[in-house]
Symmetry: C2
Subunit: 221 residues, 2 copies
């Protein structure tokens, strides 16, 4: 297997798009989600984000990275004005309309109408969900950090509502994303399905790992 | 498809481990990496992290979340003391030793010895890589943020070296993780392989998306 080594000097020489593809894929698989928001005038906005990550379970917190220079900021403005937003998992059937929401529409246009995806409002949450998404997450804005090194923004939100197919939640709380059909992201534009390898037991020094069953028949009651 | 709805009240009622599994899988697929560091006394440390995410390409920046309460802090101490660390992608053959590095060993023990993974030092970078990993990333510490909502820590690092198999880097810079065998993570303990669905062209308003070839024969020279 022939290896190639790149250092900071090489990174600086890279053509701009090459560098963007290279580093966006280097970071590993990404959690891609549709982020639903509402503007002051109650216009629904939808945009695909691929920098969603887990911060904590108690309270349940998710982070997202927003790049002001390259992404339309409607989402950021709406999150800050309206305090609520949603993340919606993407499955294979909606990969194309999901990706299309990254086009730079004007603020008077709703990506819901343009992409053909359907807004859905729960009784509990003021921001729009994507009806087609199987896993829907309602969030409330908590914190904002401005990252000095490149002026991106990290938004921390608290999960306040989850709507999920009953048969993908195991008795131990594990949500089987593979079973739900959630796709993974890679780079700026790649979408992938997944195949289970294994779940492994909690690691302890000098103790062999056990494989944990993907508990198909052991769902929450 | 029967759906189940959870709200903040339900989250509070969840048993602690159930809640941890639930929210760790809810956030979507994760980028799992082995983080290699060195202590002051040049002892190598290795730990698996599943909250690695892309922050930017120019300069190339990666973020990671460290939870002081649950993860041994050797990694954090070493990053801050030594200023350099590595991320190493995981493939199916090293999933078990990688997961085993999450066991709470004492600081005098090296997870390299205990897991059977091999440290590798490049000429350019002071922190240890994992020789078995196919995609190796050398980083320099840039910024630290303390997240108020749950006292986790976000570390921002700049990529200063990348070692990667030549034939997984496309002419457009895209690194084919599926081809490299990089696994995805889910929840606290699940590992998955991936299958390509598609790569889609840059989205523009009112323009149809094209599929981009996964350029097998179009590698960098």
């Amino acid at each position: 297997m022939e290896e190639v080594q790149f250092t900071s000097y090489d990174f600086e020489q890279m053509e701009r798009r090459f560098r963007a593809h290279f580093f966006n894929s280097l970071s590993g698989y990404k959690s891609v989600n549709l982020c639903g928001t509402c503007s002051k005038n109650e216009r629904s906005n939808l945009a695909v984000f691929n920098s969603i990550f887990h911060i904590g379970s108690n309270p349940p917190l998710l982070g997202m990275i927003i790049r002001p220079a390259t992404v339309p900021r409607h989402t950021l403005t709406n999150i800050i004005e309206q305090d609520h937003y949603t993340f919606n998992h993407i499955h294979e059937d909606i990969v194309k309309p999901a990706h299309q929401t990254s086009a730079k529409y004007t603020r008077t246009q709703s990506e819901f109408d343009l992409s053909g995806l359907t807004p859905f409002f729960s009784d509990e949450h003021p921001a729009p969900y994507v009806a087609e998404s199987r896993i829907k997450i309602g969030l409330k804005f908590r914190e904002r950090y401005n990252i000095q090194a490149n002026h991106t923004i990290m938004i921390v939100g608290e999960v306040v509502e989850v709507i999920v197919p009953k048969d993908v939640v195991g008795i131990d709380g594990f949500i089987d994303l593979c079973e739900a059909g959630t796709v993974a992201g890679s780079g700026l534009d790649a979408y992938l399905n997944t195949d289970k390898i294994t779940r492994l037991s909690y690691a302890r020094p000098y103790e062999d790992l056990r494989e944990i069953e993907y508990a198909k028949d052991k769902q929450i009651p």
